[in-house]
């Protein structure tokens, strides 16, 4: 973590960005598509809302290219809510992120739910004043995003399915890889650094020139990448967890789903389609907040489950035409 400069006022430092994410811990962040839904989310106890035009299950059903939401929609939601407002930019689409920052969004989600804009590189998040949250399916992917400047990580899960299996898969894989890293010897760690760094060089595979070598990535050359990754792995080994706030996302549809992911050590929960695609969104929102706050108390989780009408309909992962978790790397 960077040193605090006591002599001057500074905005957008690593500490301020990661500190924002820390204030979200133990919370539920809800996808909303209208100001009315944002008001309902705030009243239910959401710690932030994700402003977007369509929830992931509709994006999935509609197909086509999914882009950043219209500024008027985002501004309408910003104007009507007092809790933080997040919004999604496409993977690698720095210009969409810049627009969101200019609109006054509190945090950008560089999200696989939208159609990726850059096949080789994610956004250089260090260049922004506002913080970013990024998805991951594994520890290595999380480390790459943190190296790029992400202030918060969420599991990708499989958005818009109401099926929690991928969120659990990603939480378990991250945790298992961290446990392995903590007991790995020097050569094991060196290998992990190399494996994680090599992914930044995917553009080399796209060239038809046999001798082509990428001289430097937007995030440094191989030496700089290795040093940055090594330092993040040191933090992970010390803490026994990712060194930024880590939420679960992608498929959470019931209070029990939320409690399950909290039991997997997640710091909080994103609920996308799960609330406003359920039979009674208000009660679903209340119930998921209750279960997230009291994940450790089975009686409270049971109380939350009993509040529910029908959750959103779920989809089998094997039947999906598009796997959102495979976007990004």
């Amino acid at each position: 973590m960077e040193e605090l400069d006591l002599t001057e006022l500074r905005h957008g430092t690593d500490l301020i960005k990661k500190g924002f994410a820390r204030m979200q811990q133990g919370g539920v962040i809800m996808d909303v598509v209208t100001p009315d839904q944002a008001a309902l989310a705030e009243e239910a106890g959401a710690t932030a809302v994700m402003a977007l035009e369509r929830v992931p299950s509709d994006i999935r059903a509609d197909g086509g290219v999914a882009r950043m939401s219209h500024p008027e929609l985002i501004e309408g939601i910003i104007d009507c809510t007092s809790i933080p407002v997040m919004a999604k930019a496409r993977i690698g689409h720095a210009e969409e992120a810049r627009v969101l920052e200019a609109l006054g969004v509190d945090m950008v989600d560089e999200s696989e739910v939208l159609t990726p804009a850059d096949p080789f590189f994610h956004i250089d998040k260090r260049k922004f004043t506002i913080p970013f949250v990024c998805g991951c399916t594994s520890m290595g992917e999380a480390v790459r995003r943190i190296h790029e400047g992400a202030a918060m990580i969420r599991t990708k899960g499989e958005a818009g399915t109401g099926n929690v299996v991928c969120a659990v898969q990603h939480a378990r894989l991250v945790k298992s890889e961290i446990e392995w890293l903590q007991q790995a010897d020097e050569s094991g760690i060196a290998g992990a650094i190399e494996d994680i760094a090599n992914e930044f060089y995917r553009i080399e595979e796209a060239s038809s020139l046999v001798d082509f070598e990428l001289l430097a990535t937007p995030f440094g050359d191989m030496d700089e990448l290795s040093a940055g990754i090594s330092s993040i792995l040191d933090d992970i080994r010390t803490m026994g967890r990712l060194p930024v706030v880590t939420f679960s996302a992608g498929g959470i549809a019931t209070p029990a789903d939320a409690a399950l992911l909290m039991q997997h050590g997640m710091d909080g929960i994103f609920v996308g389609s799960g609330i406003f695609k359920s039979e009674d969104p208000k009660t679903t929102a209340d119930a998921i907040v209750l279960a997230t706050h009291h994940f450790d108390d089975a009686a409270k989780v049971a109380e939350a489950c009993a509040m529910m009408a029908s959750p959103m309909p779920g989809l089998e992962i094997d039947d999906l035409e598009v796997r959102l978790e495979e976007r990004g790397w």
Partner: protein, 244 residues
């Protein structure tokens, strides 16, 4: 300020029990406060037990001091709806104004504007008054607060819950006599300060921390830095009261 003075060499008060600090687990940066309290306890050589407060019955065993962490104050009010924790905390604070309480950011809002009943501090506060996240900032804050003498003791034990590893906070050397590293995140601002309060922290001529009886409210986040002065303060206050 005397706040930054080391306490070794002073006459020690010895108390038999450890100090129990209640930590409201409603939502937000709770593990950071737990770590800061553990660190401050070690710096002071005081045995501190962190009592995690999730429901009103968690207060049954008694606490010597209370921390209201930062997070989203609206969420905290709603989080309390199902088990009445906030009501019990207000009751605990109202029973004796001298009871040591540290409220940071959202915690300060909960102290200045309770959902019902009288404010716990003679001050008015506005939420998110510096602007949205892009306007969040870090800057030096001038601190005017004394840390009192504290007794030596054994060890510090901290447990928040079984599945969440704490995020480690910066260990950089911070603090420079009268200044404190102020971290303001979508922070509130005091819109008026009554005569009952004492100013304990200022940024650029603006009041950012107040004290009234045992209650300390800060609009910034000392738990996000490794400067433990405010956490040493609350342990000291609790220790002195417990020994009296």
């Amino acid at each position: 300020m005397a706040l930054n003075r080391r306490v070794e060499g002073r006459v020690a008060l010895r108390c038999a029990m450890s100090i129990r600090i209640g930590l409201a687990m409603l939502q937000g940066a709770r593990h950071e406060h737990a770590q800061a309290i553990a660190g401050a306890g070690e710096e002071l050589g005081v045995e501190v037990e962190i009592k995690v407060l999730r429901t009103s019955s968690d207060l049954d065993g008694g606490i010597d001091a209370l921390i209201l962490p930062g997070g989203e104050s609206t969420t905290m009010r709603i989080a309390s709806r199902h088990q009445g924790l906030l009501e019990s905390l207000y009751e605990w604070m109202n029973d004796d104004p001298q009871r040591p309480v540290l409220g940071t950011c959202a915690g300060a809002i909960l102290m200045c504007s309770p959902p019902s009943g009288p404010p716990l501090l003679d001050a008015e506060i506005s939420r998110n008054a510096w602007g949205r996240q892009a306007k969040s900032f870090q800057a030096p804050v001038a601190v005017f607060l004394d840390v009192e003498v504290v007794p030596p003791a054994v060890t510090t034990s901290v447990s928040t819950d079984s599945v969440h590893h704490p995020l480690v906070v910066s260990s950089d050397g911070l603090g420079d006599g009268e200044t404190f590293p102020g971290v303001f995140i979508r922070a509130p601002r005091f819109s008026s300060i009554g005569t009952e309060t004492t100013v304990v922290a200022e940024f650029d001529g603006e009041v950012v921390g107040i004290l009234q009886a045992g209650r300390l409210a800060l609009t910034f986040h000392p738990e996000l830095t490794s400067d433990r002065r405010f956490h040493r303060w609350i342990i000291s206050q609790a220790t002195i009261r417990a020994a009296a």
